[in-house]
């Protein structure tokens, strides 16, 4: 029978528990490049168990591809557990620094205001520049960058990629 397949691309999140070994990151990222999966972000760090690392992965894909990605990850010997976070209540944050240049006095004032509204901090300042440090959701960070771009001439951005963990209580996202 002809099946209708939904090919809309959606953003999805995976928490991946892997062996803390040399080469595992290369193997996981190699899977994404080798099979042309659209990797948005990948972070990795150790956990309470020093033999286990945890990756937070964001991909943009359709339903069928996403199922395949999870299966392919599961197939790897070094992968201990694949947790799909897309539909679960989670806590997720991404660290980001933004330098803003060529600020006059009014510009600095505006930068402080924006930082306050976004619950971000100004952590460094120069004669005509300032630096924002924030840990927001990826989406919120995107919005902040978009806003800063329209308000100021030149900015410099570095972001850490998101880390996520399942919620303890189930009502917060």
């Amino acid at each position: 029978m002809n099946k209708i397949i939904d090919r809309t691309l959606k953003e999805r999140w995976i928490s991946l528990h892997v062996e803390n070994e040399v080469g595992v990151l290369a193997k996981v990222s190699g899977l994404f490049s080798g099979k042309s999966y659209n990797l948005q972000s990948l972070t990795v760090g150790t956990t309470e168990d020093e033999t286990v690392s945890r990756m937070t992965i964001c991909v943009k894909s359709d339903d069928v591809t996403f199922e395949q990605i999870k299966k392919q990850l599961n197939r790897m010997v070094e992968v201990i557990k694949v947790v799909d976070l897309t539909e679960s209540p989670i806590h997720m944050k991404e660290v980001m620094f933004v330098k803003v240049f060529n600020l006059d006095a009014a510009g600095k004032e505006e930068l402080f205001q924006i930082a306050r509204v976004f619950s971000a901090d100004i952590v460094d300042i120069g004669v005509d520049s300032g630096m924002i440090e924030c840990k927001l959701t990826t989406r919120k960070n995107n919005e902040l960058i978009a806003l800063l771009k329209t308000k100021f001439h030149r900015i410099e951005v570095v972001r850490g990629g998101a880390v996520a963990i399942e919620s303890i209580s189930t009502c917060c996202i």
Binding site: V18, G23, G30, K71, R75, M76, V77
Partner: protein
């Protein structure tokens, strides 16, 4: 008491009951070869090129069900086995390949014969690993064999630095391993299987599609019993060829790109496709939107990742083919499929697999003679037109086995694989069906066959072309035979339109070549001589026999589905 890494290496091979290693020495594995020299339980088969070694190990593994073992040196030795790893990966062959590596303190220095082989092979191995400390060696060796042969089998690469080979350490080889990230599935979901059987029971035009998974899991007997009990027609993939003899009343033929007309029509017309052990490769499905358009699809496969990957299925079942079939047999009741079988029979008569009978020594006639001359045989093919003809015309009676490179389509696979098969099955006739292109890709293994007493029979179909590509050029590229004529020399005219009396002679002379290695060579140019040549080869138990069949260049593999078209649209003549 501590022992060296090299001693533990040999101990591990003994514990795993390895009797043969296919290898090629070099600077970073001399320690291991030296340790192997001191014992008699494991035989070393010295290939003449590392690619030959790994294909030999594949042939050995595929024909015996054992795990093939390869031992090569670092650097070029390691890179030379990559094609074989990929081949084994796609065709699910259990292999454990050991590569030497420079000592740990030199890794990363671009040392002599150093390559990051683990990095290079990650995407074509089931597991690959560089041993980083002597005390983990035992556990890693155990893991390698366990991973290679369980679940969906595949190649594992273990890279052993030279200093670890000589370092003292833990003497023990573990009996068991527990890998938290690797738990091969060994049960079957009964509810899903019941659902699948119910669909089969209610279907009017059911069709079973059997792939290589049925053979890999050793389920031929169960498969046959099930099929005969339910009375449902069977189409196979290339890798599934041989699960039923070609003459079996329920066997339709191969499906897919060069499948039989009746098989592909049956796939397009069936209302239930009951597939076992196939990953629905594009060579089978053609245009996915038009694949089995009227059917519900059941898919049994040991690998979760193969299910609903290419084809969206109605009933997915993650299971080893054998386990699922054992259960299905218990429920199986005969179905009334007379009119459906009749329908398939009519298609079969409409376009049977048949080459013209007035064209002299066609590949079909050669295959028919092979069928008549051998039984209980192992057939090994290379890749190309001859491979398709073999899968179309070999009868595959009980006891026969077909070994071929299906997933990767590796030219150069056939001949070394046949040597491996012969070494694993010295009492069975092993017939390597190959072409003049593929045979030359690993022709140096003639020496391996001679020195290891592997009297394989090489059926060489010489059409003087890279025939499969030539066929595409003839049909789709205006007969522009770019780089496919193996006779073409620098002196040939640029606008050559095919063979004529001015063509230069073929090189090499395969008969002289065979003789120079100490093998027997027979050239056959007429159909009358086929039988005698096969008889001579069959009786030559001391050396390989090369039978060069000089066949026409313009024979095509038909039917043929054009790339990207539905399988029901075939080029028939």
């Amino acid at each position: 008491m501590n022992i060296t890494g090299r001693k533990l290496f040999v101990k591990a091979l003994n514990e795993e009951k390895v009797d043969t290693i296919f290898g090629y020495p070099g600077g970073m594995v001399t320690e291991l070869f030296d340790e192997l020299y001191k014992q008699n339980d494991i035989k070393i088969v010295l290939g003449r090129h590392e690619q030959g070694c790994i294909h030999e190990a594949e042939g050995y593994a595929k024909s015996s069900g054992k795990t093939g073992v390869v031992l090569v040196t670092s650097g070029p030795g390691a890179t030379n086995i990559i094609t074989g790893l990929a081949d084994a990966y796609y065709d699910n062959v259990p292999l454990v390949c050991f590569t030497g590596q420079v000592s740990r303190n030199l890794i990363g220095n671009d040392a002599f014969q150093e390559v990051d082989i683990v990095g290079m092979t990650r995407s074509v191995t089931k597991y690959s690993f560089t041993v980083k400390d002597r005390d983990s060696l035992g556990k890693i060796l155990k893991m390698a064999f366990y991973i290679a042969r369980t679940g969906r089998p595949g190649p594992v690469l273990i890279d052993i630095p030279k200093d670890i080979q000589i370092a003292q350490g833990d003497p023990s080889y573990p009996e068991k391993v527990d890998i938290r990230g690797y738990k091969p599935n060994c049960s079957v979901h009964i509810g899903q299987l019941k659902k699948a059987y119910k669909l089969l029971k209610n279907a009017k035009k059911p069709l079973i599609l059997a792939g290589g998974g049925v053979i890999v899991s050793g389920a031929q007997q169960e498969f046959r019993e099930f099929v005969e009990k339910v009375n449902v027609p069977v189409v196979t993939t290339i890798m599934g060829k041989g699960v039923l003899p070609a003459d079996h009343p329920l066997y339709v033929g191969n499906g897919g790109l060069h499948g039989k007309y009746a098989s592909n029509l049956a796939i397009s017309e069936c209302d239930l496709l009951f597939s076992i052990g196939t990953r629905f490769n594009d060579r089978i499905t053609g245009d996915l939107n038009e694949f089995a358009p009227k059917a519900k699809i059941v898919h049994i496969d040991v690998d979760t990742a193969s299910i609903s990957r290419n084809v969206v299925v109605d009933v997915p079942i993650v299971s080893d083919a054998k386990r699922a079939l054992e259960r299905l047999i218990q429920w199986a009741e005969p179905k009334k499929t007379t009119s459906w079988l009749k329908e398939i029979g009519i298609w079969n008569k409409e376009y049977p697999l048949e080459m013209r009978r007035d064209k002299g020594m066609t590949p079909q006639i050669i295959m028919e003679h092979i069928n008549a001359n051998f039984s209980d045989a192992i057939y090994v093919t290379d890749v190309g037109q001859h491979q398709m003809w073999a899968t179309q015309f070999l009868k595959m009676n009980d006891g026969d086995k077909l070994i071929t490179s299906g997933g990767l389509g590796t030219m150069g696979f056939g001949f070394p694989a046949s040597i491996g098969a012969k070494l694993a099955n010295p009492d069975k006739p092993v017939v390597c069906i190959t072409g003049d292109g593929g045979f030359q890709m690993n022709i140096q293994e003639m020496a391996t066959a001679i020195t290891n007493s592997a009297p394989v029979i090489i059926v060489l179909l010489n059409n003087q072309y890279l025939g499969m590509v030539r066929q595409m050029q003839q049909l789709f590229y205006g007969k522009r035979y770019a780089a496919t004529c193996l006779r073409k020399r620098i002196t040939c005219p640029d606008d050559c339109k095919g063979p004529n009396e001015k063509c230069p002679p073929y090189t090499p002379d395969f008969i002289k070549l065979a003789e120079s290695y100490g093998a027997k060579g027979i050239r056959v140019e007429k159909a009358e001589d086929i039988n005698d040549a096969l008889q001579i080869a069959k009786n030559n138990k001391s050396t390989p026999t090369v039978i060069e069949f000089v066949v026409s260049s313009d024979e095509l593999v038909l039917p043929m589905v054009k790339n990207g078209k539905p399988v029901s649209e075939m080029i028939l003549n």
